[in-house]
């Protein structure tokens, strides 16, 4: 029978099928960080069990780390305690640990691919919903809760009902100034934040095939924002080129053996999906969000939709606009902004900083804008320096910080003050996400750069 890529990877990882229940799914790679793992390790201790395959788990500190002066001791006692707990647990159980200051440190979903931990056809989980990022390599990757982190540590398995299958196909050509972030925000605006709940998404079509691996990661990263468990793209020569010779990718005879499995990773002709969506690349413009969930996005040139045109939840819609200090029918272009954040597991890779640099190069940061440029990893930071982007940023009066999740979820000191507007390349614009009372506008690195230069929402195409 014709199978989808998702079917092939999922079915080959089922250790046991429970009748009228979940599948017992074997997990190839497990990533952990300081925030969602400590209680899982406590659970292991309480049960007096150990980590079954420590070599399949990788630890990095990212959510709760400072992005300045990482060489100094962490000052916040709670954050310090959490970071120490991760290091202690990793050491105790023999798990590789890339802590603060380590040259391989960075955001878990940025370093996984960088070091070849992320591989096609693998099952990958992490106590973080944006684990969907790794689907860019044709992996089944998704976020799990702490109880499940404990399950994976103890047994390398979790119990999951198999999600339904959705295919999103986008063919045609993209407009100028449209980035992978815009593609994702466009899809979420069409499907809503719950439109793919219960599904695992496969992205098909020319638009996705032509994206770089970084771009595919941005798209898959945001799959969770439409409720999907994850999203994936079939591996191709770009994928294999990217993973070649990375630290944890198989080499020599192992590579030949693994490649046999990898070569089966595509959706068979005639395979059936439970739900399908088709869009054209030309429908997509640079996007921006105006509300308090990632589904509330529009083309940057459009006006904020009227409440009467919203299908469900009118009261929630009005509450959301009220929080943002916006009115229905207003245009987004020209609205003043206070902060710009470029970074996160969504847009913290080298390609994102290149895009940002392409607009700020030869220009100056608006004096009204505070900008935080936070690379996704040390490797990204090194590339920014080596490619000469750091000079461009300095000339344009931007400062580069050290790697971490930073203002995406504002667990550290990088908080947007109450009432202020931030154009952010991150993934969530929920109330208070970037700090209590903060107002987030999600956008691409190009839109963020245009806002940082002009101090207001600006169509980046006018600056390209």
């Amino acid at each position: 029978m014709a199978k989808t890529l998702f079917d092939k990877v999922w079915d080959s990882h089922v250790v046991r099928r429970i009748k009228n229940g979940p599948d017992v799914l074997f997990i190839d790679r497990h990533m952990i960080h300081e925030v969602t793992s400590p209680v899982a390790f406590l659970g292991l201790k309480n049960r007096r069990v150990s980590v079954l395959y420590p070599e399949r788990t990788f630890a990095t500190a990212d959510h709760n780390t400072p992005t300045k002066n990482q060489h100094l001791p962490v000052t916040d006692p709670e954050s310090k305690n959490q970071l120490e707990a991760l290091e202690k647990n990793a050491n105790e159980y023999g798990i590789s640990y890339w802590g603060l200051g380590h040259k391989k440190n960075g955001i878990v979903h940025v370093v996984g691919p960088e070091y070849g931990i992320t591989q096609p056809g693998a099952t990958i989980v992490c106590g973080d919903s944006h684990t969907s990022t790794h689907g860019a390599f044709g992996a089944i990757a998704f976020g799990i809760g702490t109880s499940e982190v404990e399950m994976v540590l103890a047994t390398q398995c979790i119990m999951q009902p198999k999600p339904k299958k959705m295919r999103i196909t986008i063919d045609g050509k993209l407009n100028n100034g449209v980035t992978p972030k815009d593609i994702a925000l466009f899809i979420i605006s069409k499907l809503t934040t719950s439109g793919a709940t219960g599904y695992f998404v496969e992205y098909h079509g020319k638009v996705f095939r032509e994206l770089s691996m970084e771009g595919r990661m941005t798209v898959c990263n945001l799959s969770i924002e439409m409720g999907a468990r994850g999203g994936m793209i079939a591996p191709d020569c770009k994928t294999f080129e990217y993973i070649k010779n990375r630290e944890f990718t198989p080499k020599g005879d192992d590579l030949l053996k693994t490649k046999k499995y990898w070569d089966t990773l595509y959706t068979d002709k005639g395979a059936k999906f439970d739900k399908e969506f088709f869009f054209k690349g030309s429908e997509i413009d640079p996007m921006i969000t105006f509300g308090t969930n990632p589904g509330m996005g529009i083309s940057i040139t459009k006006s904020i939709p009227k409440a009467k045109d919203v299908d469900n939840g009118k009261l929630t819609y009005i509450k959301s606009l009220d929080y943002m200090g916006y009115k229905e029918g207003e245009s987004m272009i020209g609205k003043p902004i206070d902060y710009v954040f470029i970074g996160s597991c969504t847009n913290g890779r080298i390609e994102d900083f290149r895009a940002f640099a392409s607009i700020v190069s030869g220009r100056k940061r608006s004096k009204n804008v505070t900008a935080w440029l936070v690379p996704g990893s040390h490797k990204v930071m090194e590339a920014i320096k080596n490619e000469g982007l750091l000079e461009i940023f300095k000339d344009a009066e931007f400062e580069l910080r050290e790697p971490g999740c930073s203002a995406c979820l504002a667990m550290n000191d990088d908080k947007i003050p109450p009432g202020k507007y931030a154009v952010s390349t991150s993934n969530r614009n929920f109330e208070g996400r970037q700090g209590p009372g903060a107002r987030t506008l999600l956008a691409s690195p190009l839109v963020a750069a245009a806002a940082a230069i002009t101090g207001k929402i600006t169509d980046p195409r006018s600056l390209i």
Binding site: V15, R16, K19, N20, G21, V24, F26, R29, V35, P38, V39, L42, G43, N46, L52, Y53, H63, N64, D76, E78, N81, Q82, A85, Q119, G121, A122, G127, D128, S129, G143, I144, G145, T146, S147, E148, M151, A154, T155, Q156, C157, M159, Q160, T193, S194, T197, G227, K257, Y261, N312, G313, L315, T316, L409, A410, M411, P418, R428, F430, G432, G437
Partner: protein, 198 residues
Amino acid sequence: MSYDSFKVLKSSAVPLPIENVDTDQIIPARFLKATERKGFGDNLFRDWRFNQDNSIKNDFVLNNPTYSGSILVGGNNFGSGSSREHAAWAIYDYGFRCVVSSFFADIFKNNCLNIGVLPVEVSQSFLNNIFEAIYNDAKTELKIDLPKQLISICDSKNSEKFEINSYKKENMINGYDDIDYLYSMKSDIKEFESKSPL
């Protein structure tokens, strides 16, 4: 490690008719710094319950003594966003044992089931009936009968069946968790691992 078993729950309920309640509202990220699972209930819906100077927001339902009970009734698409189990812990720690909505985000639903909070998914019209009944009389009780998979608005004829897979249902009724099950099949897992291509 087992958790409280869940069979039948009869309680008044707290109405929260807001859609897309996300995990950042349930528990903001700045309260995720603990290394133990305790005290999360204090910060449940922190920024909706308290002003930034920590004074109480009187208009939020958890600060309204009229409404109480161990069932939280939320709007459509409850629990979207992050995978933080802390959101489910905060709901449990505050004293809720059941969340009712017309639609739940996936990971949140799983997390609830894994710690013994029952997510009950009902039709939009039944959800509206529940809100109506509670707003008519705040003392209205709901009865959640897990063995029968039935939710009823007490003192009315209004009830609805709800879905839960039989494995999870058994776990909830007996207070078992998944690790007990997985641990019992360790030799199968080891054999599987030895043949894994990755």
